[in-house]
């Protein structure tokens, strides 16, 4: 059985990411965040359930839709919002933007938007851990599209061959921009079975139910450490907003209405609120208090970003080389 306190904390973390992402979406039209954003709204529970099972020294690498992973692993909010604003106080001092979040203090070591390209980098970090003989695990977050890239096969094959401590997490949201999975992958193809074919065990989860995901990840991570074998989790999830940008784009009718409503019913914030209310752990007052506290942090982060300086022209050619 899962402790109530754990559920409560998972809920707070998911809510925090939802509110941060919502604030980005709401503020986007001010045109102060002048870079593409791939918001994680709807998919937050995957990041939170997995990362809540990690130690600080464990490593996360991710892709274009990285905000939830970054925040769930403990990445600095101020640095993230500043990076979106192109400020010198940003996580990459304004060089990367939303698609290149990094926070070495929290071991978020890579986020890149070229689909599938962080997979081998994560494998390399896990290989380094093995050579250094430490017990750290590497979590590689990627989408269903990434499994169509050659890097996916190259990465799972090597991870298996070298017995690396890696948790591959495929967040299958069924869409690569507007292209649905059935247009891209044969109905005879299974992402999990692709992993199995190179000797990697896999776990398939039909939806992003927080508690189920948290408990599965807990067991799997223990097993990865004990057996020194990689594992793959494929979890079906749902992106609420457009692929890139602050808006809902369901008016374009590229997704089936039933698909949308069935996923909205599984919204993890609503589910956890219902559960916690039934357990008498959460009530409206308490919820308001949590939201107020998170929003206060968000407000501070935006103020920090907005009042921070832009990078200076004299530093235009800095960081190209490490001297």
């Amino acid at each position: 059985m899962i402790e109530n306190k754990i559920i409560y904390n998972l809920y707070k973390k998911i809510l925090r990411i939802r509110l941060i992402e919502t604030a980005i979406a709401e503020n986007y039209s001010k045109q102060k965040m002048r870079c593409p954003v791939h918001l994680s709204i709807g998919q937050e529970s995957v990041a939170v359930s997995i990362c809540s099972n990690l130690k600080k020294s464990d490593v996360v690498v991710t892709a274009h839709r990285s905000h939830a992973h970054y925040l769930a692993k403990g990445g600095s909010l101020n640095k993230m919002i500043s990076e979106l604003h192109g400020k010198v106080t940003g996580s990459a001092k304004g060089r990367g933007g939303s698609m290149h979040l990094i926070d070495k203090n929290s071991n978020i070591n890579a986020a890149v938007p070229i689909v599938g390209s962080t997979l081998p980098i994560g494998v390399g970090i896990a290989w380094a851990n093995k050579l250094k003989k430490n017990q750290r695990i590497v979590v590689i977050f990627f989408g269903d599209g990434a499994t169509e890239e050659g890097t996916f096969l190259e990465s799972i094959d090597f991870a298996s061959l070298f017995n690396l401590k890696i948790l591959f997490v495929c967040e299958n949201n069924n869409y690569s921009v507007y292209s649905s999975l059935k247009k891209r992958q044969s109905k005879f193809r299974s992402i999990s079975k692709l992993a199995n074919s190179v000797g990697i065990k896999s776990t398939q989860l039909k939806n992003h139910d927080t508690i189920n995901l948290f408990q599965s990840a807990k067991k799997i991570i223990k097993k990865i450490i004990k057996s020194s074998r990689p594992h793959l989790i494929e979890v079906n999830t749902f992106r609420y907003l457009e692929h890139c940008g602050p808006n809902n784009d369901d008016y374009l009718n590229y997704r089936d209405k039933n698909e949308i409503t069935s996923w909205l019913k599984k919204d993890q914030i609503l589910s956890l609120e219902n559960l916690l209310s039934r357990k008498k752990i959460l009530n409206e007052n308490k919820k308001k208090k949590i939201i107020r506290s998170i929003n206060s942090d968000i407000k501070k982060a935006f103020k920090f970003a907005e009042t921070s300086s832009y990078p200076n022209k004299k530093d235009l050619m800095r960081y190209i080389y490490n001297d």
Binding site: A92, I114, P120, I121, G124, K132, E154, F158, Y319, N322
Partner: protein, 345 residues
């Protein structure tokens, strides 16, 4: 103290010394531990350092990414491809990730990786085993590119490339591997980005790099017999390129022949020409390079594709308006670097 070794042995010495001095140096590539040891350049290293030498699956883009993961975790990987062309499968990792990693992390996550690319030529290597692609790698900020032509430079630049905190593309010409040359007994590094005057001269400057330097020297030796003194500048690095050395020799002789190791169009020679034009006036420049064509396998066609000493001599005479006849020994077997080389690749 001085000894004589081959270019391939010089690279092996540098790799061995680097691993001995720093256990974080790891070699990876297809066949890096094979019995022939990548044309001798990694021979026996696996036996001596089994924890530092790793054969790889046939997954060039994948293992280039693995190398980046190692590099940002404190290792110093050295990748090798037996031909440049295989590295094209890993261009994504090299151009988008490795070259920009230090930048994208605002200097907090350097990527010290050496990528050894071997250029092929002759013996029927054909369209996909004999291209000189220095120019595409030299185009990318964040990468350094070196292309030594002598055993001494190969050894010293390998040492410095491995020590460098930045990604370095290390071009080796297959026809350089068997070249013997004197090297200092003491192994030390040499600064990346510095050219070297190999011969002093006053009539004309030959500017070149990689194997083409060998042809330049050969031509210069013949021309000297006729009183024509060529200055030969070996660039040794293409990024950063030694602008000072180019400008200095151009200013001295006022007449330049650039011998490009690759194709002229959008090539390294175009960059050198621009450097001269942007900095000096009244300098006469011509250039020769590999013909603008996929490279044929047949020796009957391939022999017309590369700028060799014969073409260099003819061009020099044209530029200097020399009419007397120069005796040039015809290269009977233009598809071999020397008679010992009988393939297969």
């Amino acid at each position: 103290m001085i000894k004589k070794i081959t270019y391939a042995d010089a690279i092996k010495d540098a790799l061995q010394t680097s691993i001995k001095n720093d256990k974080k140096v790891v070699l990876l590539g297809l066949g890096v531990d094979d019995p022939k040891g990548i044309f001798g350049t990694t021979k026996n290293l696996y036996n001596n350092f089994p924890n530092n030498v790793f054969d790889m699956p046939t997954a060039e883009n994948g293992f280039t990414g693995f190398a980046l993961g190692l590099a940002i975790s404190g290792f110093r990987p050295v990748i090798v491809h037996q031909r440049v062309e295989f590295s094209l499968l890993s261009i994504e990792q090299i151009f988008n990730q490795i070259a920009k990693w230090n930048y994208m992390s605002a200097g907090s996550s350097p990527a010290p990786i050496v990528i050894r690319l071997i250029i092929g030529k002759g013996w029927g290597q054909g369209p996909q085993h004999s291209q000189s692609l220095e120019t595409i790698y030299s185009h990318i900020p964040g990468l350094k590119v070196v292309c030594p032509s002598s055993p001494q430079d190969a050894r010293d630049l390998m040492i410095s490339s491995i020590k460098d905190n930045n990604p370095v593309i290390f071009f080796e010409h297959r026809w350089c591997h068997s070249i013997k040359g004197k090297v200092n007994k003491k192994i030390k590094s040499s600064k990346i980005g510095k050219g070297k005057i190999l011969r002093k001269g006053k009539h004309i400057s030959l500017i070149s790099f990689s194997y083409s330097i060998i042809e330049c020297i050969f031509a210069a030796k013949i021309l000297k017999k006729y009183g024509i003194l060529c200055e030969v500048l070996d660039l040794r690095s293409l990024r950063p390129i030694d602008k000072k050395a180019i400008i200095k020799t151009a200013n001295k002789t006022k007449k330049i022949l650039i011998v490009d190791n690759g194709m002229k169009t959008f090539g390294v020679s175009a960059e050198i020409l621009s450097i001269i034009y942007e900095n000096l006036k009244n300098i006469y420049v011509e250039r020769i390079g590999v013909l603008d064509t996929p490279l044929p396998s047949s020796v009957a066609l391939a022999k017309y594709c590369y700028p060799e000493h014969e073409e260099i001599i003819k061009k020099v005479c044209k530029i200097l308006k020399i009419t007397k006849k120069i005796n040039i020994k015809k290269n009977k077997n233009p598809d071999q670097p020397n008679s010992d080389f009988i393939g297969p690749f």
